[in-house]
Each structure stands twice: as structure tokens, then as C-alpha cells.
């Protein structure tokens, strides 16, 4: 689901495979390395001395992660969070906290990747493309979450983006996902029906918002329909300061 785990899992597997047999291209870099394993110092270094940090970040952009391994990992995360909580709200808070740092870090990867994809070739990235702007207005941020972030995480856009209709809460926005990947295999027991494990995704969104400088609280709510039994609405409520800044920016006409 999330890019950094997918990324590292993918690359560490590659490096493990590359260890026993150096590729032919490596010969030009110097004398052939011996095949004896490196002294173990925590991180395994392949014989061509290329760790996962030496590889291009875009290399795993289209790499896919097994859905089943993610499902097992996420199930274990939920069980872990459940082991030391008192109530449903507490559990959701913990899942949210697990997602938050992921969102903060994901943001940089997202910006980085949108830069390199917007320019057609990697070689021209230094000259032609202008770096993508960090979102300044709420709407651009929401579109960033609804589109690119969702595609990075789940391979498709979110299903709906709405503004709260109530005049009391102009700071609330809703992003809808008809069938969240994290909940694909999860059936919440009836006595906990308030719980939505997509609180983890809400945490990721919160991290992204905070990383962009938009203070926000994000929560996940069940809104099942006949057709989509696990439809989830992510409610984003932005802080006072964000709304004030939004008004100033609107007056000065900044997009």
C-alpha cells in the first residue's frame, strides 16, 4: 500500500538476489569482487557495494507489492495496537499515530516523483521542468491528496471529494473511498461497529497535511451503502490558523 515499505521491500530483495552473482556490467567498475560475504555489520552490503540507497528512487515507482503480505502486516499492526488500548477511540488514535509519520515522509517522495514524471525524460529534469509547487490553498492540497497521493498509495484516485454543506463547519472537507484497500479483508465485530481501521490512512493524510503546513485533524468514518459495504469517508477538519490564512490568500488572489 504505502510507498516506502514497498520501496524498501522491493529493493532489499533485489540486493539480496544480486549478492551471489555480480552483474557483467560491474566488471568495468574495478577488479571483480570476491564472492565471500561481507562482514556483517547490520546492513548487508551486496558485493558490488550498491546498497538500496544507491539506487534511483524512481526505480520502484511501478513496482507492486503483494496484497496478501500487506494484509497480514496490517492485520498484525491492528492486533498490536489493540493489545494495549482501552477503547475504540484509543485504538483509532493509535492507528492514526502509526500512519502519521508515514504521511510526513511520503510527502517528499510524492513531490520528488511528480517532478520527474512531469518532465518526459530524466535527462531533461534539470533543465526544463519547474519544481511542482507546494500546495498553498486548501483546494490544491485536497486535489493532491485525492489524486496523486491516492494513486501512489493505492494505484487509483479516491472516489469523491466534498466540502461540508453545513455553514457551521466551513473548515471540513470529505474524501470518500468506496472500497479502502486496508479494510479489504477486515470485518469489524458488531460490538465495535464504530471502529474503522482506515484510521491508519487518516493518519497518513494528516501527516501529509501537516507536512504541507496545513494543521488538520483527520478521521475515518464508516458510511456503508448497499453496493459498497466498506465505504469510508475521511473527514478533514482544518485548524483556525489555516482558515485565516486561506482568507488572506483568497483576497490576494493566490492560487
Amino acid at each position: 500500500m504505502a510507498a516506502p515499505p514497498r520501496h524498501s521491500a522491493m529493493l532489499s530483495m533485489n540486493s539480496a538476489v544480486a549478492t551471489p552473482q555480480p552483474m557483467p556490467g560491474d566488471m568495468s567498475q574495478g577488479p571483480p569482487q570476491s564472492l565471500t560475504p561481507q562482514p556483517s555489520q547490520g546492513l548487508r552490503v551486496p558485493s558490488n557495494r550498491k546498497t538500496i540507497y544507491d539506487r534511483h528512487l524512481n526505480r520502484s515507482r511501478n513496482a507492486e507489492l503483494s496484497r496478501a503480505s500487506f494484509a497480514y502486516l496490517f492485520a498484525e499492526m491492528v492486533t498490536y495496537a489493540q493489545r494495549r488500548v482501552t477503547g475504540i477511540q484509543d485504538l483509532e488514535k493509535r492507528l492514526n499515530e502509526q500512519g502519521y509519520p508515514l504521511g510526513l515522509r511520503l510527502l517528499d517522495l510524492l513531490f520528488y516523483r511528480t517532478t520527474t514524471t512531469s518532465s518526459s525524460a530524466l535527462s531533461s529534469s534539470s533543465t526544463s521542468s519547474s519544481p511542482p509547487n507546494r500546495p498553498l490553498r486548501i483546494l490544491t492540497l485536497l486535489h493532491l491528496i485525492h489524486g496523486p497521493l491516492w494513486r501512489l498509495l493505492f494505484g487509483r484516485s479516491a472516489d469523491a471529494l466534498e466540502h461540508s454543506v453545513s455553514p457551521d463547519t466551513p473548515n471540513e472537507y470529505m474524501i470518500t473511498d468506496n472500497d479502502p484497500l486496508v479494510n479489504a479483508y477486515i470485518s469489524v465485530p458488531r460490538e465495535m461497529n464504530q471502529l474503522n481501521c482506515a484510521a491508519f490512512v487518516a493518519g497518513i493524510i494528516e501527516g501529509v497535511c501537516d507536512g504541507c503546513g496545513f494543521e488538520a485533524k483527520v478521521s475515518a468514518h464508516n458510511q456503508p451503502t448497499e453496493m459498497w459495504p466498506s465505504r469510508t469517508v475521511f473527514l478533514l477538519s482544518f485548524g483556525e490558523s489555516v482558515m485565516e490564512r486561506e482568507k488572506v490568500l483568497e483576497r490576494s488572489g493566490i492560487k
Binding site: A68, A71, Y72, F74, A75, E76, V78, T79, Q82, Y185, I186, S187, V188, P189, R190, M192, C197, P229, S230
Partner: protein
């Protein structure tokens, strides 16, 4: 003959499904089509326990072959009554004894599938239904997906997973 003329995944009548955990407890029971008389909850528990016991006995009376006689002439089972107990093997050492697999009456057929972990799936179908293996595999797949990947399911406890009910029901009804 009649079965051969049917389509591979054609008309299939699945009456009900029972899942028994490895200790012989009933953990799941659903009806999908009318056709069998239903039992009380208590009777289903007794059925599960009884079947578990009978299955264990049929497993243990599966004949073993003495290991010493490895010549192909000893393929007739049951010949190893007096050999020393240390060197026994099932006819095919790679496959454990399976025990009871089918029970058939005039009106229904019960097919038992035991997973490697000891969970048993009992499927009540029409005796004419072919391809029960395919159905069983799909049920096992759905079980592995929607029960075993659910963090709120406790092992060996009754299955109360709404997503499992939904997918299984939709799949079985979509086929019939």
C-alpha cells in the same frame, strides 16, 4: 453419464456448509439453499463433534505398510499386521491418511475437506453436483482471505466475519 453431460461449472446445488475446527468444535454453519431439513443448533454441534470423531477413527484404520518390505509386490494394504511397529508407512509416505471424504445418501452428498492445519470443511451438495473440489477450493480461498486475514478473528473460535459471509454467499448464489 448424466454428470458428464453437464457444464464444468454448471448447475450446482450447495445446500449448506459447516466448518469444524481442529478440536472438533463447530465454528461456522450456513444454509445456502433449501432442500435439507435444518437441525437445531445443538444438533449441529453434536454433528460436528461426531463427524470429527468418526473422521479420526477412519483415519486411524487406514492401513499402513511395513517399511522393511519396499518391494512393489506389497502394495496390497493391510498386510503389515505382524511387522514390528517401528517401520510403518502409509501407502504414499508423502500424503497423510485422509480419512472420511464422502458420505452419500439418496438426497444429498456430504464432502469433507480437511486442510493441512486440521480445519474441516463439510459441504452438503446435491448428489448430482460435479466439481465439488472446485467449490471446496474456492471456499478455502475465501476462508484464507476473509477469516484468516481478519485481525479480529480469534483462532479456533466461531467465525463471525461479515465479509466472509458476504463474499461466500454472493459467490455461491452467483453460481447456482
Amino acid at each position: 453419464m448424466r454428470r458428464a453431460s453437464r457444464y464444468p461449472l454448471g448447475d450446482v446445488t450447495v445446500f449448506s456448509l459447516i466448518i469444524i475446527n481442529k478440536a472438533g468444535g463447530l465454528i461456522y454453519q450456513r444454509e445456502y439453499q433449501a432442500g435439507l431439513r435444518s437441525l437445531s443448533t445443538n444438533d449441529y454441534l453434536v454433528l460436528a463433534g461426531t463427524f470429527h470423531g468418526v473422521h479420526a477413527i477412519t483415519r486411524s484404520i487406514t492401513p499402513k505398510l511395513p517399511l522393511a518390505q519396499t518391494s512393489p509386490a506389497t502394495t496390497t494394504p493391510g498386510g503389515g499386521g505382524s511387522a514390528p511397529p517401528a517401520g510403518y508407512s502409509y501407502p504414499n509416505p508423502g500424503i497423510a491418511a485422509s480419512g472420511l471424504e464422502h458420505l452419500e445418501t439418496e438426497k444429498f452428498r456430504l464432502t469433507c475437506f480437511q486442510t493441512l492445519t486440521g480445519t474441516k470443511f463439510l459441504l452438503f451438495t446435491d448428489p448430482m453436483t460435479g466439481n465439488v473440489d472446485t467449490i471446496m477450493n474456492k471456499i478455502y480461498e475465501l476462508y484464507a482471505d476473509y477469516v484468516m486475514k481478519n485481525p479480529f478473528y480469534q483462532l479456533e473460535m466461531p467465525v463471525r466475519c461479515e465479509a466472509f459471509d458476504r463474499h461466500l454467499g454472493a459467490w455461491l448464489r452467483g453460481r447456482t
